[in-house]
Assembly symmetry: D2
Homo-oligomer: 422 residues x 4
């Protein structure tokens, strides 16, 4: 693969310095299908990033595309605020029949605005309103969004510093395995809660990701999640699962918390919920928490109807049966095998791996190595990102619709990139 | 027009109580073109709401639609994070050539996430970072969004109460004419700033709408805006114009602040920037304020490429010349004449009107009257909303592409509705 | 008067740079009686500062001194926390019979800790608890103390900056005459309160000084105070009068708010309440506000019994009849006459005066002039301080027990100092 | 001992419900000497509470009394703000020669106002100013005061709730032995600091008591304190030791942190610093931290000269040599022996003891038992208080000047009270 000199001038001259991914991948992308992106010169890139988890069904998935084109062609409502539309009704009905009912989940559905941080802001507001307390517990290396409420429960110091105001009302607790197994789970958290002199403001809620994507593919064990849910119940705190990146089948099941057998009080979904990369998010909560007054939270783009159309098509196509789920778990097993081998081979480098379903991470003892692997992989035509507080983890996030060949191709490039950066 | 019983069950049973517009307009909408929405039974509604200002070019504008369909059909990048794409490049180039350069505006462009509140959060962060102070001044009856940072500079007590935490770091100042002309402009604000004992934390920035849409169509005079810009310069505060609802030609000029001849330090755009009702927003700022570190603010859907495509088409179609601007001002004059007559007729009821370009409001002395007019207008097939702290203002926000006949039709229904609710 | 070189070494080498008054008056004081302080070399200084209002009955008042010595000699309880003591009982009974009952004030008495800021912190806590809201309105150029709660309602930007954290939950409103009479009283405040879109968090309370001492001897008119009390009642806000500097007879009446005929919900007293310069403070409130749980607010020195003893003696000596009150008002009239003359003489310099009872200020158009006058007065043996946001006001605060001769002596030095700094 | 009906009426009718100790000890105290208080009927009470640690040298200590009477009789300056006085000079010189120099401590001395919470507020302000960060770490069950800044770093939930505003900028960490030795010291704290994704705002300072008095006589080990000091140094955080209750010889050494061999950056002193129960406090800090501007923090009673006089006498009398220190340690050994026996005897009740110098606590497994013991002790003429988050610890805090006989008397009553409440 030869790299031609990209024409990036308007990005460099006009776009803000805040841009980031485009710096690592200095090409101009033009079109995409399935697991592959193509730049303006026709070069293809295998995508193991999938829009940071927004493209679980691949780029421009043909079934969703057909539904979207049909809708647009017949002048379906595009922008609907929170008005009732046929597209929204179809989505709600399908979400109920394909997602909620089969899992016996009795959630109300809120459209809080089309981005993940909108959903998190709504979840936090609702939890605080329901409990009449302002404090929320989050976890080390959590990522929940960039608006002020979400940022206050996000761990990354660099992002937090961007707030320009002190971030308050949130307290971090250790995520699963944060202290290397040297401390019993929740020993500290529970002690703070039971002790009337601990100084912890009694939290309204706990917000957690079952797997921390931005935080470095930190996987919470099912028993840890169960213990957390139990702690929340016993100590009168609402449990919010932020399933924005790990939901919509990324771990196999539709919701990432299903494996643990817990039922959160509030769930946020976004990224792959529209299925087509279109902005959309949901906030789900138990009916007794539906304490909103009409219009108490709103947002211009909360009724992004084209996204409802592709979301409905995605649910009908992939969640009417267990095929995708089985496939994801099987492919996940395949990835795990490959990573086991890779890390064994590179044991002397201190590479370790972890993951579940189709989300995996390789952590390098030499932290800069991860970025080097990512750079080298790009040269070999693979888009793969790093995560973790110091970018020390290479993150695998292929579309769930990736083929076996594509998966092997990507894993091969990855292995080669690791070798070449040794 | 006869009303059939709408089938709303899934909205009522599954959707959260937070839904609002759908309560006032209890039909299920299906498709839309230009200035008209149609419900599932084929009934048409003239739209003087325009997606709360998101549909300045009408529903499913055919030129934009063609561009969007072409892009989707050829599998253009849908979801692009902040990667360089051909669609984004076209947008940036067109925004520069059609918007910035003709107005001699030297702004950097940031994609802060696709909703208005994302843009406001980014603007506030940047202002605080640039000035190293956390305090921001906003105005009475301001509306800037629902996430925690934006909500803190929003006036509405009902929305603010939803935060569940005290909203701090913002101080309200009187908007133009707030005190009925009994107090010299900025007397209080300037006194607070010059007095070292006033107790006002020195603000990093002032955030203002040139016309407050949600606040009740409160129109700031050009001289008031100029005096504000001057105050900001003299007192070392950044001026942020939130042009989310009033930008993109709503007042005639592309930016609503052009008429006043001011150049804000930071500008937020959203709503009609994509032109097709698709989620998109921009944060513009002077180059010396581009102090972001790469990735310091991010967001999953900040690269909503289909929106870039329609945005580009909209700029090329409507902002290559002054036709739309002229048309908007002319139509605005027509509306003004109609409202003058209507309010004269109803002088005994204390109805007054105000506006600029194609945004107008009628305020009723009997505050409940506005809701009654809106309800009656709906029965006559006109979608028209209320605004203001107590919903006492009927708000006219037709698409800028509304035809003369449609405008007259809407104004007739409005006049009839006012009469019938006397 | 000749100045000898003071021996300040330990102050300069060991004491923190935060010290301030000692810089302006570079002598070492040793003893004091009545209106006069003496330095270690025996030089006397007429005291028109009176411990910033803490020595209304003069230094080492002989009646109070006798009571204090008796108490100490017989080993009366010195440190009593909030235990019942005979000294505390006597104080409470005397405060009831000499202060509360004659004024028909039905207040509960709280000992919140012995400093003014302790009392203000307690008042703010109680108001917030009673109303369930965190917001408090204070006034431009208010001074309420240096601990975090009090500082947040204090105006001085220099003091506020010392907090090291953003000071929140307080909003400044214009004090009487702040805008030079160009705006109707409370126009802005009331508009903010009545408008549901104003952005002002509904305050739990308003805290006010009837005369702002540190703020520059700004005197609120009686009708302004009455309008404020009325506004508080109508808008469900508690009225806190901080009478720490202006209470205990400084304005003639025991409480400075008596002249206006208002009854605040909460009153703070400190400074001269012990009468002997000993640390003591009180928080008074209407019985229905006594919502404290036992021990919910405490403090080690809230039972400073020697202060109770001198406080009781002071009340019995000076507040059993109206003699002190009459004397204060008469002397105040005398001061006013002298200042009228002085300011007339210096009209070309823009000196103006204001005050009430025995608290007066002269404001100079050339702001640095005030400090120069204070320095020159010190050289002539008069201690007199400046106040105001830029120290532009010379402040007269003699003991209420000042003799006619001492008053004239001080006024003469003042006049001379003004002349000499012209 | 017979109990007569106390005459408490004015306390019950006029004083606020916030009063607390007087409820447990329903007598009216009149005078006191050494270790004994007497009520108005002449009944004596042995005092193992010592003004919550404010009377280390006993009630009305004759040496200090003489100095105080002399000073008052010769009309020494009573109220001095921060003016230079001979009394203040003597104190500063004596504090330097008797406290700082012998310990090679190079601290600047600040008089921040006469109460402990004034000193803590000043310490927190200074730390935040010095580091330019607002976050402070405190410890579980810490007690630092009742004003807003101090309360935010205090653990007790009941006291915190009194604030009426969310308490922010503080994060609790586990005090020594908080997790029962199951977790390595500072494992969690250090991990939070080293991890850029932890979500902990980098603290400006850590504030700690070496022994938590109000928190339940929790004794930090010397090695824990050393590790904390080391952590602070390595992680660029200031170490504030709040020695308000444990300083002034309570643990043997003048400062409680001396035993650990650490040198805090900032130290707060109050309670027994005046020696006579008079309000006084100090804030000490390293010279390079003396970043205050003149007057940036002030307070009316920061120059309580009578307290300086007794403080000077106390230092001269008790800290010119090591006699008091030796005596305290010896007596402490005696107390420890008695408690060891008592707890052994009552092992089946789960009573445990802990302490150092002359501060000791007995914790009862049946938490209500502590209050019962305290009540019974009072009936036997011993004043002894409880502490801990649920009042589960009986606290021994006799004057350091207690005689051997008094100590035995008190220990006997204690043992009897424990037995009688079995």
């Amino acid at each position: 693969m030869t790299m031609t000199e990209p024409v990036l001038s308007v990005f460099e001259t006009l776009e803000s310095e805040v841009r980031s991914y485009c710096r690592a991948w200095p090409v101009v992308f033009e079109h995409a299908t399935g697991s592959r992106l193509y730049d303006e010169h026709g070069s293809g890139y295998l995508d193991f990033f999938a829009g940071a988890g927004s493209l679980n069904y691949g780029h421009n998935n043909p079934v969703l595309k057909r539904a979207l084109l049909d809708y647009l062609e017949r002048d379906g409502i595009t922008h609907g605020l929170d008005m009732a539309t046929t597209a929204k009704r179809s989505f709600l009905e399908t979400f109920r029949s394909h997602v909620l009912e089969p899992r016996a989940l009795n959630y109300k559905v809120m459209f809080p605005g089309p981005t993940g941080t909108n959903a998190v802001e709504a979840a936090l507001k609702l939890a605080r309103k329901a409990k009449g307390r302002e404090s929320v517990v989050s976890f080390t290396n959590a990522f929940h969004g960039m608006s002020l409420g979400s940022l206050a429960v996000t761990g990354n110091a660099f992002k937090r510093a961007g707030a320009g105001v002190p971030l308050v009302h949130g307290t971090p607790m250790p995520f699963d395995n944060y202290l290397g197994g040297r401390v019993p789970d929740f020993l500290w958290f529970e002690r703070l809660l039971e002790d009337q002199g601990s100084g912890l403001n009694h939290p309204a809620a706990v917000i957690v990701e079952t797997i921390q994507g931005e935080g470095g593919i930190n996987v919470a064990r099912a028993e840890w999640l169960r213990a957390l849910a139990d702690l929340c119940r016993r100590r009168d705190m609402l449990l919010i699962v932020d399933d924005i990146q790990m939901g919509c089948g990324r771990t196999g099941e539709f919701f990432s918390f299903e494996e643990a057998g817990i039922t959160p009080d509030i769930v946020t979904l976004s990224k792959s919920i529209s299925g087509y990369g279109l902005p959309m998010s949901l906030c789900l909560f138990k009916p007794e928490l539906d304490l909103w007054e009409p219009g108490e939270h709103n947002g211009t783009f909360r009724g992004n109807n084209p996204a409802f159309v592709t979301a409905t098509a995605a649910l009908e196509t992939y969640w009417a049966d267990g095929v995708l789920r089985e496939r994801t778990l099987a492919q996940g097993g395949h990835v795990e095998g490959a990573l086991r081998e890779l890390c064994a081979e590179h044991a002397r480098l201190g590479a370790t791996y972890r993951g579940r379903g189709l989300v995996w991470g390789i952590e390098f003892a030499h932290k800069e190595r991860a970025a080097a692997v990512s750079r080298r992989a790009f040269e070999h035509g693979l888009l793969i990102e790093t995560s973790g507080p110091e970018g020390e983890v290479v993150k695998l996030l292929p579309p769930l619709t990736v083929t076996a060949d594509e998966l092997d191709e990507g894993l091969d490039i990855l292995a080669r990139s690791v070798r070449e950066t040794a």
